[in-house]
Amino acid sequence: MGPLVAQDIIGSEWNFLIALLIGICFGFVLEQAGFSSSKKLAGVFYGYDFVVLRVFFTAAITAMVGLIFFDYLEIIDMSLVYINPTFLWSTLVGGVIMGVGFILGGFCPGTGVCAAAIGKIDAWFFIGGIFIGIFIFAEGYELLFESLHLGQTDPESYKEGSRYIQIFNSLGISRNIFAFGMIIMALVAFIVTARIEKGVKKPNY
């Protein structure tokens, strides 16, 4: 039963090989989808190309459905799977900063690496920027970011033990109903965005 490495079912010496292989597949798919082009990525914000939304949602839903079935069939032990913790303000402020970074830079870190691999010089600058950004964060950590990052400004209900909360819990519905709802929402979004795309003139890229 998975996850394999976390339970020492396969040795940690395989860990890095798996990392490399998964990374290669990840990079390959991103490039194939056209995520190595910042203009294609930015299209989602201007309505001329919704490839980001399509790939992103299809991937999230595929993995979500897969994990639910893996969990049901006991192929994977979900108690060992990492659930991203929720630090309310830290996540929101970080997300907003990343949003501005996205519209300015045209990449996110993963796609930036992918674009750099096929020779996009702007992607190399973007990656350089990430280095600078993380360095600024690290150096200014105590002074500026620590209390926000550690969630000291979060409402009480998020503090004690509920960091690993899942969205269906906070909405008060069951996981399965939420998953079904998400599938329907994604399908609707796919249809709607396809309509929008038709009406927006594509810039040449």
Binding site: A6, A179, F180
Partner: protein
């Protein structure tokens, strides 16, 4: 809309509908079923005799950890050397989990008789913990067998006499000033099981 998307979209909706009817997830997977628990209860290896315990204490065997499941007051009055006090009413507390759910040592539960130790054992076993055992007869047997051993009849076999001489030696060991150790023996920090370690986060 493009016709070629109809089939994948339908498949997705069907999968979603199946998910809708999956049973809600139970978080009790590590807990044992009644059948499994029964099979473990009738297994005699979950018991350790007072003689074996006495021997291991004298030899300072590091592979066992005695756990006194009686109340704190009883523990304060008298306890076996090196024993840790986890009262039965606290056995489900999270703070003891690292001691009870581990693979490094064998825990030996004891109470006055066998009853509370057995209850503690069953509660732990049901939670999926291994490496826990019970001292048969508890402290009552301990006093009778180890501290006040009865001389066997002259007609008894050699084996009985061997046990007796061990018990006499043991009783001298335990009554001969070693009693001070009861509660101030430091118990080593529990080795937290690696397996349960949560995976560290991604990006």
């Amino acid at each position: 809309m493009d016709k070629r998307y109809i089939i994948p979209a339908t498949v997705l909706v069907i999968l979603g509908a199946i998910i809708l009817f999956l049973p809600p997830k139970d978080n009790t997977k590590t807990e044992l079923t009644a059948d499994q628990l029964y099979l473990d209860i009738i297994e005699s290896t979950r018991f350790i005799s007072t003689d074996e315990i006495a021997d291991m204490i004298i030899k300072r065997d590091p592979s066992i950890q005695l756990i006194d499941v009686r109340s704190a007051e009883e523990y304060a009055k008298y306890a076996l050397p090196g024993a840790l006090n986890i009262p039965l009413n606290e056995i489900l507390d999270d703070k003891w989990e690292a001691y009870l759910d581990q693979e490094a040592r064998t825990n030996v539960f004891y109470s006055n008789g066998s009853l509370r130790a057995d209850q503690a054992w069953i509660l732990c076993r049901r939670r999926g913990f291994v490496n826990n055992t019970i001292m048969v007869g508890g402290l009552n047997s301990w006093v009778e067998d180890i501290l006040k051993p009865q001389k066997p009849a002259d007609t008894e076999g050699e084996q009985e006499w061997e046990i007796y001489s061990f018990r006499v030696a043991a009783s001298q060991y335990f009554l001969g000033g070693n009693q001070v150790q009861t509660s101030d023996v430091p118990t080593a920090a529990p080795v937290v099981k690696r397996k349960k370690k949560m995976v560290q986060g991604g990006c």
